[in-house]
C-alpha cells in the first residue's frame, strides 16, 4: 500500500488533466484487492442543505461514480441515490447503524436545524413518529467510525445559518461531542470529499488544522497560491470584476481563505473564480457567508441584535475578523518591503463612490477619531455582544483568548492615538 507520506504528496500535487482520484484509484483498488482495506459502509445524511455537496460528489470523474459506488465505498443510505423509499429506506439505515456500528463513515451534508427542537427539519417517519434531523444525527453519530461534515453548512453553519438564521441552524460539531472532520466550501470540491474519504479508508484520520479541516487541502491561503499573486506584488489592481489584475481592492477574500482552488481548480481542473474574473467570496472560510459579505468590498457587514450596521458606525475594532486579516496582511507586505513603490501607489484607496460607499481603512480610522462613542469599553462590550450573537464567531473565537487580547491591545493603541 502507498505510504501515508506518498498519499499526501499525491493529494497536494495536482496538475491539470491529472485528477487526484485518478492517482488514488489504482492504489485503493490494490489495497482492497490485497485485503489491506475493505469497502467502507457509508451513511450520507442530508439535513438543512441545498443538495450542493451531493451534486458536487456526482461530479467526480476519476474515479467516476460507478467506481466510487461499486469499488471504493458501500453507499448504504443517501436519499438521492437509494432505490428504496419510505419504510424500506429507514430499515436499511438502521440496519447499517446496528450491524456496522464502529465501522461505517457518517457523512453529514447541510446545517443542523435546531428551531422548535429541530422540527423545522423532519427527516423521517419511524413507526408514525416524525424524527427531526438533529435527533437522528445525535442518535447515529456515536456509532460511526468517523463523522465527516461536508460543505460550509455542515461544517460551520454556512449559508444555512446566515443572519438572521431563521431556522436557528448550526454546524455539526456544535451539536456532537465527537470529533468531526470538516470539509468546508460552498459546495465542497469533489476531490476534497473523495480525497478525505480515501484517506479515512486507507490511513484513518488525516492531519487537521485548528478548524478540523484536512491540511492537505486547506493548508495554504488562496492568496498565496493565486496565479494573480504577481499582480498583487506588482501593484496591478482591478477596479471591477472581469478586469485584469489582482482583485484585492474589490473585496477578494483570498487572503483569509485557506483552500487550494487556484492549483486544483474546479470541475476536473477547468476553471476557478479568480481565473474567471470574479473575486474569491471565501466560501471555504469558517465565517462564510456573513463574515465574507459584501463580496465586493474589503470589510464585512456586522450583524447586531436588531439589525445590521455598517462597519464605520462601530469603529475599526469591530471591522470583522476578515478585515483584520486582510488589512494586516497588506500592512505586513508593505512593511516587509515585498511590494514595490508602484504597489503602494496602486493601493492608494480610490475615492469612495457615493452609490457604493466603499469603507476604507483610513476612512474608518478617521471615523473612529470623530465618533465620541467609540471608547474602549463600549467597543469591547459591543464586541462581546456580537461574539455572543454570531454563533459561529462565538464558538470559534471565544476559545481563542489570544485573539481577544490582540484586539484589546489594538483598541487601546488606536484610542491613545
Amino acid at each position: 500500500m502507498l505510504s501515508r507520506r506518498e498519499f499526501l504528496k499525491l493529494c497536494m500535487q495536482t496538475t491539470a488533466g491529472m485528477s487526484l482520484a485518478r492517482l488514488l484509484r489504482p492504489e485503493i483498488l490494490k489495497a482492497l484487492d490485497q485485503g489491506e482495506i475493505t469497502r467502507s459502509p457509508v451513511i450520507w445524511l442530508e439535513l438543512g442543505s441545498c443538495t450542493g455537496e451531493s451534486i458536487s460528489l456526482d461530479n467526480t470523474l476519476d474515479p467516476d461514480l460507478k467506481r466510487l459506488f461499486l469499488e471504493i465505498i458501500d453507499l448504504r443510505y443517501h436519499w438521492l441515490f437509494i432505490q428504496a423509499q419510505g419504510e424500506l429506506a429507514i430499515k436499511t439505515l438502521f440496519k447499517t447503524v446496528e450491524e456496522d456500528a464502529g465501522r461505517f463513515i457518517l457523512v453529514v451534508e447541510g446545517s443542523v436545524v435546531t428551531r422548535n427542537d429541530g422540527m423545522y427539519n423532519i427527516v423521517l417517519d419511524r413507526n408514525g413518529q416524525l424524527i427531526p434531523g438533529i435527533q437522528l444525527l445525535k442518535e447515529i453519530a456515536p456509532q460511526a467510525k468517523h463523522v465527516v461534515a461536508v460543505g460550509a453548512c455542515a461544517a460551520f453553519g454556512g449559508p444555512g445559518a446566515a443572519y438572521p438564521n431563521p431556522a436557528k441552524a448550526v454546524g455539526v460539531q456544535d451539536i456532537l461531542n465527537l470529533k468531526v472532520i470538516n470539509i468546508p466550501g460552498c459546495p465542497s470540491h469533489t476531490e476534497w470529499m473523495v480525497g478525505t474519504l480515501a484517506h479515512l479508508i486507507m490511513y484513518g484520520e488525516p492531519e487537521l488544522n485548528n478548524y478540523n479541516c484536512p491540511t492537505m487541502f486547506f493548508g495554504k491561503t488562496i492568496h498565496d497560491l493565486c496565479h494573480r499573486r504577481s499582480d498583487y506584488d506588482n501593484g496591478k489592481f482591478a477596479n471591477y470584476p472581469g478586469d485584469e489584475g489582482c482583485f484585492y481592492k474589490i473585496g477578494c477574500k483570498g487572503p483569509v481563505t485557506y483552500a487550494d482552488c487556484p492549483t486544483r481548480q474546479w470541475n476536473n481542473h477547468i476553471n476557478w473564480p479568480v481565473k474567471a474574473g470574479i473575486p474569491c467570496i471565501g466560501c471555504a472560510n469558517p465565517h462564510f457567508p456573513d463574515g465574507m459579505m459584501p463580496y465586493f468590498e474589503h470589510l464585512p457587514d456586522i450583524y447586531l441584535p436588531g439589525g445590521k450596521t455598517r462597519i464605520e458606525k462601530i469603529g475599526a475594532t469591530l471591522g470583522g475578523i476578515t478585515a483584520l486579516g486582510i488589512s494586516s496582511h497588506m500592512i505586513g507586505s508593505i512593511l516587509t518591503g515585498r511590494m514595490g513603490k508602484n504597489q503602494i501607489k496602486g493601493t492608494q484607496l480610490r475615492e469612495p463612490n457615493p452609490g457604493e460607499k466603499a469603507p476604507v481603512q483610513e476612512k474608518i480610522l478617521d471615523n473612529l477619531e470623530k465618533t465620541e462613542k467609540t471608547s474602549q469599553e463600549l467597543v469591547l462590550s459591543k464586541l462581546d455582544e456580537i461574539l455572543r450573537y454570531q454563533h459561529n464567531l462565538n464558538i470559534k473565537l471565544m476559545k481563542k483568548p489570544s485573539f481577544l487580547k490582540k484586539l484589546k491591545f489594538w483598541v487601546k493603541k488606536k484610542d491613545e492615538k
Binding site: 443538495t51 451531493s54 451534486i55 461530479n59 477547468i270 474574473g277 470574479i278
Partner: protein, 468 residues
C-alpha cells in the same frame, strides 16, 4: 380506506413527505409537503444587492444557475440595464449546460430505479416491491447508460465551469452579464464537450425514455393533473424580451396558449405553516411569519396561484406552450417532453456559440442605484422561477422568491383545491401499500427539488432601529 405516509420520499433533492389516501387500490386524495425550513428570503434582506445573485444560488444546489440568472435579471430590471450581447449568450451557455446536467440526472439517477433494477448492491438494494417489467438484458443496457449519464452530467458541469468558474454554485453571472470572456480555446473545449453530450442525448437518453414508456404504457394515463400549464419563457434570444422558449399559459389541456400576465400571480398560506393573513398577496407585498402550531397546515411550501388557479411548470409546459409537444400530459409525457426539450436546447447552444464575438465585452459595467425595485422571471429546469427585489438605501429591503417546486408541489388552497402534483396523484393505481412505488413514479416525473420550494418572507422584526 387507508392512509399512508412516505417519509422520506427518496431520490428527490431534499426531504419530502407524501401522504396518500388509498381506496380499492387507487389513490383518492393526497397531501404533499416539504419538511425543511431554512428561511432564505429573510437572509437575503439587508444585504448588498450586488451579492444577491451569487448568494441566492445557495438556496438550491441542483438548479443553482437558475437562481443566479433570475437574481441577475431582477437587478437588471431594478438598475435599468441590459447585459451585453456576449454576456447574454454566455449566460445562456452556462444555463444550458446546467439543463444538460439536470435533465440527465433527473432521468437516470432519480427516475430510472423506479422502473428498472440496478446492480445487486447498495445503493440499488434493497429493492422496493413493484412491477418491474423490463427484461434483464435491457435493464443491463439501461444501467450501462446510467453510469455513462453520470459521467456526461459531470462533464456538463465541466462545460458550465468553462464560463462559470465552478459548479454547482457558479460565480460569474452578475447583473450586466458575466465576468468570464470568450476565447477560441474555451469555445473549442466547450464545443467538444457539447458534441459528446449531444451524442449521448440523441443515441441513449431519448431512446431510453421511450423504452420505459413502451414497457409501461399505462403511465400515459396516470398522473394527468389539471392540464394547467405555465411558463415564464426561457433563454433570451436577443435584446428586449424575446425568448427562445416563449412564455405563456395553457388551461385545461387547451392547444392554444394564451398570454402570461405576471400581475396575476399571488400566493396564499391556508395550509402552510405560516401565520394566517386574510388576503392573497402579490410577491412584492407578501409578509409572513412561520407558525408550526397552525392546525390545518401540513407543509412549508406555500400555495402560489395564477388568476386564482393552480398551475404546473416544467419541460412539458414549455414544450406545449411552444407547440413542440402536445401529445398529452402524463407521467410518460413529462419524461418524454423533458428529453426532447434537451435536444432543442443543445441545438440552441450551437447557435449561441456561433454568435459569440471574441474581443467584445461580456459585462455591462454600471453603478448600483440606492433605491429601486425589479423582478426577474425565467423558467428553470423544473418550471417557472421568479425573484422579486426591493432596494432601499443601497440595501435589499425585500426579497421574495417563488420557485417552480412551490408551484408544482403546493399544498391545497383556501377552497381545498389540490396542488398540481396532488391532483396528478389522484387515480394512481397502487399495488402494494408497503412500497407505493407507483406514487413515487408520479412524483418524480415532475423533477422535484425541495431545498428551494420552502420559503418565508418578511417577519415582524424591526430592522435598522438599532443604533450604536
Amino acid at each position: 380506506m387507508v392512509k399512508k405516509r412516505i417519509l422520506p420520499l427518496t431520490r428527490v433533492h431534499e426531504p419530502m413527505q407524501v401522504e396518500v389516501e388509498v381506496n380499492d387500490g387507487q389513490v383518492t386524495d393526497a397531501w404533499v409537503s416539504g419538511t425543511l425550513f431554512r428561511g432564505f428570503e429573510l437572509m437575503l434582506e439587508n444585504r448588498d444587492p450586488r451579492d444577491t445573485a451569487i448568494y441566492a444560488q445557495r438556496i438550491c444546489g441542483i438548479c443553482s444557475t437558475a437562481h443566479a440568472v433570475a437574481g441577475a435579471l431582477a437587478l437588471e430590471e431594478a438598475y435599468n440595464i441590459q447585459p451585453t450581447p456576449n454576456g447574454s449568450l454566455i449566460r445562456n451557455l452556462i444555463f444550458g449546460s446546467d439543463f444538460i446536467q439536470n435533465h440527465l440526472r433527473q432521468f437516470y439517477v432519480l427516475t430510472l430505479p423506479d422502473y428498472a433494477r440496478g446492480p445487486n448492491t447498495s445503493p440499488f438494494r434493497p429493492l422496493l416491491k413493484g412491477d418491474y417489467k423490463i427484461p434483464k438484458n435491457i435493464e443491463e443496457k439501461l444501467y450501462e447508460n446510467y453510469w455513462k449519464a453520470t459521467e456526461i452530467s459531470a462533464k456538463a458541469h465541466q462545460m458550465l465551469a468553462i464560463w462559470g468558474a465552478k459548479a454547482p454554485h457558479q460565480q460569474t453571472i452578475l447583473p450586466g452579464g458575466v465576468t468570464e470572456k470568450p476565447t477560441a480555446e474555451k469555445i473549442n473545449m466547450f464545443t467538444a464537450l457539447l458534441r459528446e453530450a449531444e451524442k449521448f442525448v440523441v443515441e441513449k437518453y431519448i431512446p431510453d425514455v421511450y423504452t420505459i414508456a413502451e414497457y409501461y404504457p399505462e403511465y400515459y394515463n396516470i398522473g394527468k393533473g389539471y392540464g394547467n400549464l405555465m411558463s415564464y419563457g426561457l433563454f433570451p434570444s436577443g435584446p428586449g424580451n424575446d425568448k427562445h422558449f416563449k412564455p405563456g399559459i395553457v388551461e385545461k389541456f387547451s392547444r392554444k396558449p394564451s398570454q402570461l400576465d405576471p400581475r396575476k400571480i399571488t400566493e396564499e398560506v391556508e395550509h402552510s405553516w405560516y401565520k394566517q393573513d386574510e388576503a392573497q398577496h402579490h410577491p412584492y407585498e407578501e409578509e409572513t411569519v412561520p407558525d408550526m402550531d397552525k392546525p390545518q397546515a401540513y407543509s412549508w411550501v406555500k400555495t402560489p396561484l395564477y388568476n386564482n388557479k393552480p398551475f404546473e411548470g416544467g419541460p412539458i409546459a414549455r414544450m406545449w406552450i411552444n407547440e413542440k409537444y402536445q401529445k398529452g400530459v402524463s407521467v410518460n409525457d413529462r419524461n418524454i417532453a423533458r428529453a426532447l426539450e434537451l435536444k432543442e436546447i443543445i441545438n440552441f447552444m450551437y447557435l449561441w456559440l456561433e454568435k459569440l464575438n471574441l474581443g467584445q465585452p461580456t459585462l455591462n459595467k454600471h453603478e448600483p442605484k440606492p433605491t429601486a425595485e425589479g423582478a426577474g422571471l425565467t423558467d428553470s429546469m423544473r418550471g417557472q422561477l421568479g425573484h422579486w427585489v426591493k432596494i432601499k438605501n443601497g440595501r435589499t429591503a425585500h426579497y421574495q422568491i417563488i420557485t417552480p417546486s412551490a408551484w408544482n408541489y403546493s399544498p391545497k388552497d383556501k377552497n381545498n383545491r389540490r396542488g398540481p402534483v396532488e391532483e396528478a396523484l389522484i387515480g394512481t393505481p397502487v399495488e402494494s401499500l408497503d412500497s407505493l412505488i407507483e406514487v413515487g413514479r408520479v412524483i418524480r416525473c415532475f423533477d422535484p427539488c425541495f431545498s428551494c420550494s420552502v420559503h418565508v418572507i418578511k417577519g415582524n422584526r424591526k430592522l435598522d432601529k438599532y443604533l450604536i
